[in-house]
């Protein structure tokens, strides 16, 4: 009889349908590369499917408040998830710091940026790219760094501002700005700066860039969303996060 194996097959299929779910995750631009790696491992490890959408945290806030179909937010800051929770768009008690961002002064050319960042004081460059400090945490950290070095006002005429850290990186990578403050994760591969030259800004020069994750109200019944957040706290994900230059809390 062929009916019995067919029935078993259908039952197995139904069971798989029940356990494997899909989740849509909003990811801050700076965390795009590690999130991709983590999501791949997550899908292999759990059978769930995770779709990543990258963008700026401020835009995600506006979209989530207006009903965007995201289950999880991996924010570039710790303020947006807290605010979403207060506004009733994120689940209380689900917030945690998944990574602490590190800033790097970077040029795509070798030997441009020295290991002390002295080029900022005496360097010959027309444009210094940073993310818009008004809207981007990495931009804010860059401003704090320049403030701590006493260079904010002298260098201001040379600023070009990216809307987020991805665009800032593009300004520098295309050579239009000679150097810029970008996220270490954007230029790091396997534990070292892959191209060009950079100065990893000492963490004491700016407030820590705490990047928080939260389960959004829309994802509260989604098993894949919860599993992803649990996976993000696991050893494998944390090793990936570290390999991109982030600190962990």
């Amino acid at each position: 009889m062929l009916v019995r194996p067919l029935l078993i097959f259908l039952a197995v299929l139904a069971a798989m349908q029940a356990t494997a779910e899909e989740t849509r995750i909003a990811v801050a631009a700076n965390f795009s590369a590690p999130a991709k790696q983590i999501a791949e491992a997550f899908e292999r490890g759990t059978g769930h499917r995770a779709t990543l959408v990258t963008g700026s945290t401020g835009k995600f806030h506006a979209q989530i408040v207006n009903g965007a179909p995201f289950d999880v937010l991996l924010s570039a800051d710790d303020e947006t998830p807290a605010r979403l929770e207060k506004e009733g768009h994120a689940q209380a008690g689900t917030r945690f710091t998944y990574a602490i961002g590190r800033l790097v002064l970077w040029s795509p050319k070798p030997d441009v940026v020295d290991g002390e960042g002295a080029i900022l004081k005496n360097g010959d460059f027309r444009h210094l790219a940073l993310a818009n400090p008004k809207v981007a945490p990495y931009g804010q950290a860059a401003m704090e760094t320049l403030g701590a070095l006493g260079l904010a006002d002298t260098l201001r005429p040379r600023f070009v501002l990216g809307e987020n850290i991805a665009q800032t990186h593009q300004f520098v990578a295309s050579g239009n700005a000679e150097l810029g403050f970008v996220a270490l994760a954007q230029v790091m591969k396997d534990g070292r700066i892959a191209d060009g030259s950079g100065w990893v800004v000492p963490a004491r020069l700016h407030q820590p860039i705490r990047q928080d994750a939260a389960l959004l109200t829309r994802g509260r019944g989604n098993a894949a969303a919860k599993a992803f957040l649990a996976w993000l706290k696991g050893d494998a994900a944390q090793a990936t996060i570290r390999s991109f230059g982030y600190d962990l809390p």
Partner: protein, 226 residues
Amino acid sequence: MPFSASDLAAVWLTLKLATLTTALLLLAGTPLAWWLARTGSCWKGAVSAVVALPLVLPPTVLGFYLLVAMGPGGPLGKLTQAAGLGTLPFTFPGLVVASCLYSLPFVVQPLQNAFTAIPERLLEAAATLRAAPLDAFFHVVVPLARPGFLTAAVLGFAHTLGEFGVVLMIGGNIPEKTRVISVQIYDHVEALEYAQAHWLAGGMLLFSFLVLLALYTLNPMTRRQT
């Protein structure tokens, strides 16, 4: 005061950019549109297609290629550097160049339509009255094509006002140089300053509507069509 100083700076910069772009496009677009309207050249199709490209290309494509082309390693960038002008991204002249490309079809196409509608025999009549070609152009073509010029100027101006994607890619958000209204609105939204975003966005909506309303009620060319 619902508008901050940086909002007003953005408004002023945007008006300056749109005015300059429209003026340059009318100057360069008129001979181009005339050629397109009158030529029998086999290049007409290709040139028309290039002029129309900004209509269909996403601004990100235009912005990305401009950023690369005008950058230090790009062909345009090498040219401007050789001329001692430095590179164009992150500068106001850079935005003007980009806007001229971005708004080109909005100026050239209405002009071309207006020129095409002018009967050949009028020009022949002018020639038999011994009018030089330029003379005929300014005294016969320009008055007849006035509605076309008006449409071209208004659409070019309004379209440049609304430019966002290209400016975002090559502007660098520098106050009083490249931070136009649309970028300022975007910043307000990103910073969760929704009240300020509303003031600017609402103002822009109203202004754009009024400009187009004036065009469509006053312009005899569009009135005849309705």
